[in-house]
Symmetry: none
Subunit: 204 residues, 4 copies
Amino acid sequence: MNRVGEVRRKQQRGIRTRMALLEAAGRVFSRMEYDKAKLKDISDDAGISLGSLYFHFGNKDDVAAAVLDAQQERMTEVLSSVVETEGSSLGRLLDLLDGVAELISADALVQAGIRLVGSLPDELKDRGYGFYEEWQRVAETLIREGLEDGSVTSTAPAPELAEVVHETFIGAQVLSGMMDGWQTLPARIERARPRLEALLAPEA
Amino acid sequence: MNRVGEVRRKQQRGIRTRMALLEAAGRVFSRMEYDKAKLKDISDDAGISLGSLYFHFGNKDDVAAAVLDAQQERMTEVLSSVVETEGSSLGRLLDLLDGVAELISADALVQAGIRLVGSLPDELKDRGYGFYEEWQRVAETLIREGLEDGSVTSTAPAPELAEVVHETFIGAQVLSGMMDGWQTLPARIERARPRLEALLAPEA
Amino acid sequence: MNRVGEVRRKQQRGIRTRMALLEAAGRVFSRMEYDKAKLKDISDDAGISLGSLYFHFGNKDDVAAAVLDAQQERMTEVLSSVVETEGSSLGRLLDLLDGVAELISADALVQAGIRLVGSLPDELKDRGYGFYEEWQRVAETLIREGLEDGSVTSTAPAPELAEVVHETFIGAQVLSGMMDGWQTLPARIERARPRLEALLAPEA
Amino acid sequence: MNRVGEVRRKQQRGIRTRMALLEAAGRVFSRMEYDKAKLKDISDDAGISLGSLYFHFGNKDDVAAAVLDAQQERMTEVLSSVVETEGSSLGRLLDLLDGVAELISADALVQAGIRLVGSLPDELKDRGYGFYEEWQRVAETLIREGLEDGSVTSTAPAPELAEVVHETFIGAQVLSGMMDGWQTLPARIERARPRLEALLAPEA
DNA sequence: AATGAATGAGTTTTCATTCAT
DNA sequence: CATGAATGAAAACTCATTCAT
């Protein structure tokens, strides 16, 4: 156990350092573009040496990739937890938007991931874009379920409904990110909720 | 040839050079971020010397500002021409989206302006953002007029309707820009049109 | 002619700068290994900015490649001038060794090329090695001619004779380079001359 | 288990680790220059931690020095065993070349030593060079003995004969090292043997 | 106006070496 | 003895900007 405990302790230390660097990267990348952000900014923000940053991530692209991965993980987590909730499909879809909006406005690392997608070196582009496509598929699935459970009543094709919902959500993200650093994103989504309800479940 | 003619000819030449550089800047900035784009890329793309680029624009920020100005000018042009059209306010609003989508998908300089807004040095941010706010005001105005002329029947508050329309449009821009360099933006807007009509003028 | 003269003058300046950098690279690379040599050393030696070095050569490998090219050019020049000389083939072969030895001991850039061959990034290896193979072919050709004109009387196969001559010459280069920076290479070759004569034209 | 046995076991383990690192250093240094080779490459190649490498060798120069020592030891071993052989001095000299060629082509650590000599930090240069001088003295001694026992019949001065033999051998090493990682060195020496015999013992 | 060479102030990256465990 | 994380100093490379012509 001496040996084993030692190893574990060392790993712990490394993991903690890596995490601290990752969070710092999140803060830095959420404030500025990929190219504007200097790795020195990140290591300074973390209070850890630049060399250590390289030890843990290898190069700048890999730092960005790690941020992207962490973002997607956190968003997927919200997605899973909300989707498995009780309630109508429409309700869950809208709750999902709320949940993600909340996450984005509160988590610099997630904000960083969002910014990063727009200014990524080519090799990382797919990694970022793929997530957007998946996200729209989730919306479409919930809408289809909503058509079955009666919570969605629009007669429009599900893919097109999903597309518009997705566009609206992305637009809200971009505009709130631009205007106030995502602080008002939840409020925006709150305001949009009745509009989306009207779209998916018109009173008729 | 007299002095005056010569001067005029030189000016003509200068203007043409400036234009060529501006278009090249559009092409380059539409393909990559502000920081990724090198002034050498632009002068190479234009086939004009780097020194000349500096002669005409002074520095990198000014190149971006010029691109932004040109973009806004071209978008404003579409805006004016569509708004002054005959027809219902709702129709004009939706035609406006069509028109702008068309412009974006066809004009690299306009695409460049859109990209630039997301990755601008701080001093230029307001210049880019202001346009977005104005754009939403136009939507709101048209919606208000639609309420008067009966083409808009939704009972929701005009500002909130304008906000959602704006978000959807921006979202469509971002997604099409991301996925295929804005090629499919007009098709996206076409698909979204019935959804936006349902939102603004529910059958009921 | 104004325009043209101007262009020519500019080019001249660039060419002169490039040459100065190349010679400096020769001096530096002749004194130390590729990896030990810093580009700053070269630009300092030339009294020209590091940025300018990059402007002219792009990167470190390309500097080395340029040195290599220049070395091969200079050696080829000697080769041509000696080979076209009057006299027996054997005489010309041995004069060639003399001539190259002289060149090596006098020209830092050529020394640099020799050193570089031993410590080259993989992409450049072939470029350096090829020259050695060609060099041996020349020796073989001269030996064959010597068999015809009677100046070479050894009954051994020409390729094997050429190989040994080549090995001896290379060995002399390496040892003199190691011991005294090629200063005594001509003397070494002078001493070896009767041995090589004995080898190629034994008295019988 | 008692204290002493434990200590001995630890020592054994340490020696084995040191050896593994040394062999790994041989493999790495035989593939690349001193400066190109990273200590991490060596510890990775050995599958042993970098910290351990430092524990056993102190610093990079010391690793190189240890490789050099091991090379010289192995070469000296061959030298001794061949020189003490029965037979003519000329035969022993040529057998010596064969033996060393064989060793070089088979032993990465020896190859490493050879490469290292060409790219060594200044402090280690003498250590590497000295061996070359000694090597030539051995050749000269054998040639002198050959003059006495009649196996060497050339009338040229012994030092000059030794010099040429040495040059040829070094040249063969360099060329085979360059072309194919010393795989064909024994064959080269085999081919050169009759030439060297002709040189040292001309038929007359 | 136009050109392209030149510069310097960063930035990314590398790696020998040290250190805590 | 052994490990692997951490560090700092150095080097390669980039590029906006200036300058001489």
